[in-house]
């Protein structure tokens, strides 16, 4: 008798746990059920990200860099599986990217941003030559919890390119995955789940973008929203929602290559970073 394969149950990734949507809803995509996240899942993900934000920001830059590098190692080790998933999605290559190219670029993007963690401060910060006897210095700090709306395609690289800068800067992230091809993002959750990334630092939700993105963008405990949906009217809506609590909002075209994801690395990081200036008397 032919062996019956054991099918995977895809789940959301919230607070380090793999969970079904609290709504109990799911969609069918290919041979799999995909959880359809709800507004309440968004709220729980933001709460988990907020809880993880302090400890994540308090880690040394070196430690965060090593954790991101290990995430790259973990992703590379699942290369064959993820390539098969990207191949399977049936949506074809995005922006001329073959699945293997997309996977390799995603790994390299993680490595690139792993190297940023301890470079932000020297590049963005400095001592201010104030005209008084004070030591005045400015240094970057993470803004807090960042919401990410990933593009539909490329579903893996497009997600990693938006999440990695926030993590490198010391933020925690709630990301809404590609609506048409969420598999790779949900598999990425399993990869990151066994890397050293602490629970709650990255939270990944699948479902209807229109529903989730608005709930996320409107959440009052979110500090910044990064929109790579490519949907102009959604972008406008997110800008409007951001204004209510003065969120930092930025919009990117979907990253179609490694270069595209890293050429404006500093701008991506600045968009989710605050600058703190401290003053200290000298001699007085």
């Amino acid at each position: 008798m032919e062996r019956i394969p054991v099918r995977k149950t895809y789940k959301l990734w919230i607070g380090g746990a793999f969970v079904r949507s609290e709504s109990g809803r799911s969609d069918v995509a290919g041979d799999f059920n995909i959880p359809r996240g709800s507004r309440k899942d968004v709220r729980e993900a933001v709460a988990a990200a907020r809880k993880a934000a302090g400890p994540w920001a308090a880690r040394t830059a070196y430690n965060r860099g090593q954790i991101l590098y290990r995430a790259a190692e973990a992703l590379e080790s699942r290369r064959a599986q993820l390539i098969a998933v990207l191949d399977d999605r049936g949506a074809g290559s995005a922006g001329g990217l073959e699945p293997a190219e997309e996977l390799d670029a995603a790994v390299d993007v993680l490595v690139h941003y792993a190297g940023w963690t301890d470079k932000l401060q020297p590049v963005l910060g400095g001592i201010n030559p104030v005209a008084a006897p004070f030591l005045s210095f400015s240094l970057p700090e993470p803004t807090g919890v960042v919401g990410v709306v990933a593009p539909d395609q490329p579903s893996l690289l497009g997600l990693v390119a938006e999440v990695a800068p926030s993590l490198a800067a010391g933020n925690t992230v709630v990301a809404i995955l590609s609506e048409s091809a969420p598999h790779a993002g949900l598999d990425l959750a399993e990869v990151l789940g066994v890397s050293d990334i602490p629970g709650g630092v990255v939270n990944l939700l699948s479902g209807r973008r229109g529903e989730l993105a608005v709930a996320l963008g409107g959440h009052r405990d979110l500090n910044a929203i990064v929109d790579a949906s490519g949907d102009a009217s959604l972008g406008t809506e997110l800008d409007r929602l951001a204004a209510e609590t003065i969120k930092r909002a930025s919009h990117h075209a979907a990253a179609l290559s490694y270069d595209h994801a890293v050429d404006d690395a500093l701008e991506r990081i600045v968009a989710v970073t605050e600058l703190k200036t401290a003053w200290h008397p000298v001699g007085a």
Binding site: Y62, D108, D118, P122, L135, A265, P281, V282, G283, A284
Partner: protein, 486 residues
């Protein structure tokens, strides 16, 4: 029945030696050129000695001038390909090296301690983790050079020669190689004659990382090999860490040749204790400042400046704390002060200490039973030191601290700056405004406030005055290995 009351509680630690049975050292190491270990042209092998036992550990090939020329040719040949790699791929090799150092950390720590005499606690907790961290940090710079040198197009210098000392053998190799490679240079590293082993293990790591052949060559040897590197017309830059005397010779040799140079040289760093310091914390910092690594530290806090009002208190507490230092087997995890690196260095320390006594300073050395074999020097405190005494002026590079006193902040600054050196300084005060004011006035490349001997790959390190020039660490550490194209 009467029980004799115990007058005092006396206890000792049980020995806690680190095992060495996991080591995979070879009996003999060749030169590392072109990605392979090979025989030296003049077949000269010299044993490297464990300074704690005087027993040989392995035989090491020493490079001669012909080997140096061959390594330079190989490095020259490899350099354009290395520089032409995409930046991110060059970075990935460095990430691999960082990871492999972490993977082999225990082995590297034990070998560092065997070969150099430093306490295992230090090699395990400081040298090896920092070496890995330096590779990790500069791995991340490889594809971010345009942020490190802003608004300029940069290019590697070419082939660089790097000469490192025996006090932090693997760490200094990492300080030198990591930025050089990240910037696209190829490098020839000469480890110190008494401590070549961890550099040779690093050569193995380069092989494991599949670093392209010729990108790194490692040539153990003595001053002959170093001199051959410096005199060779084939190098684009020399980076040297060591004594000011040798640094001066190198700078003289390179005069008019347009070869890049960075020097990290000696020091006689002032550690300044103000009356408003937290005294117990300061005493720990003084001990760490001068007895860390047996005082074989270029930035050691060897001139202790104490404000007169707290002089007696600080000295009493320091002397009491020194009495609890454990001197002995470097492989023992409880050891604070290990072996002096070589017979030659021990003689230098003894000479200067004798000069201190002759010139009238008051010497105190802690009572401790030193092992029969090996090179040892008991931690020593000099009081009644005048600023003109040799022990207040010259670098001892051993576990010897010279105490001077001061009355005012201005006097402290003047005395601290009264040195031909300017590598580091320490400031102990609970008043932040004072600390920053004094820090601004000190002519030293590194100033520690309420701490001492802290190092990080992101923080530039290097000296003022005769302590050298050029910086290692952070974006400043990239510049010595880059040329601005436009």
């Amino acid at each position: 029945m009467s029980v004799e009351p115990r007058a005092s509680i006396v206890w000792d630690y049980a020995p806690a030696p680190e095992a060495t049975d996991h080591l995979r050292l070879a009996d003999r190491y060749g030169l590392f050129i072109g990605g392979q270990f090979c025989e030296p042209a003049e077949a000269r092998y010299v044993p490297t000695i464990n300074p704690a036992t005087e027993e040989p550990i392995a035989e090491i090939a020493w490079a001669g001038p012909r080997d140096v020329e061959r390594a330079i040719e190989v490095a020259r040949d490899a350099q354009p390909r290395w520089a032409a790699l995409p930046d991110r791929e060059r970075g990935k090799y460095l990430f691999r090296i960082a990871r492999l150092i972490q993977e082999r950390a225990r082995e590297l720590a034990v070998v560092e301690t065997l070969d150099g005499g430093k306490p295992l606690r230090e090699s395990r907790d400081v040298d090896i983790p920092l070496a890995a961290a330096h590779f990790f940090h500069y791995a991340g710079w490889a594809d971010k050079l345009r942020y490190g040198v802003v608004a300029r197009e940069v290019a590697p210098l070419g082939v660089v020669g790097q000469i490192v000392p025996w006090n932090f053998p693997l760490l200094m190799a990492a300080w030198k190689l990591a930025p050089a490679l990240a910037c696209g240079n190829t490098a020839i590293l000469k480890p110190a004659e008494t401590t070549p082993l961890t550099a040779l293990l690093l050569a193995e790591i380069c092989q494991e990382a599949e670093l392209p052949d010729g990108v790194v060559s490692i040539l153990p040897g003595d001053g002959t090999a170093g001199a051959a590197l410096v005199r060779s017309p084939g190098l684009d830059k020399i980076a040297f860490t060591g004594s000011t005397a040798v640094g001066r010779e190198i700078q003289t040799e390179l005069a008019g040749r347009g070869v890049g140079l960075t020097l990290e040289l000696g020091g006689k760093s002032a550690n300044i204790v103000f009356e408003d310091a937290a005294v117990d914390q300061a005493v720990e910092g003084i001990v760490n400042g001068i007895f860390f690594n047996q005082g074989h530290v270029c930035c050691a806090g060897s001139r202790l400046l104490i404000q007169e009002s707290v002089l007696d208190e600080v000295i009493a507490k320091l002397w009491a704390r020194m009495g609890r230092l454990r001197v002995g087997d470097p492989l023992d995890k409880n050891t604070d002060v290990g072996a002096i690196n070589s017979a030659e260095q021990l003689e230098r320390i003894e000479t200067l200490v004798a000069a201190g006594e002759q010139e009238g300073a008051v010497r105190r050395s802690i009572a401790c039973s030193l092992p029969e074999h090996g090179y040892w020097f008991a931690p020593t405190l000099f009081t009644d030191v005048s600023p003109a005494h040799r022990i207040a002026v010259e670098e001892i590079f051993g576990p010897v601290v010279s105490v001077l006193s001061f009355r005012t902040q201005a006097e402290a600054i003047e005395k601290a700056n009264n040195s031909k050196y300017g590598l580091a300084a320490g400031i102990w005060t609970d008043k932040g405004a004072k600390a920053f004011e004094v820090a601004n006035a000190l002519r030293a490349g590194v100033v520690w406030q309420n701490t001492y001997n802290h190092f990080d790959p992101t923080a530039a390190f290097g000296g003022y005055k005769e302590s050298g020039f050029g910086r290692e660490g952070g974006p400043a550490g990239l510049r010595p290995y880059l040329r601005v194209v436009r």
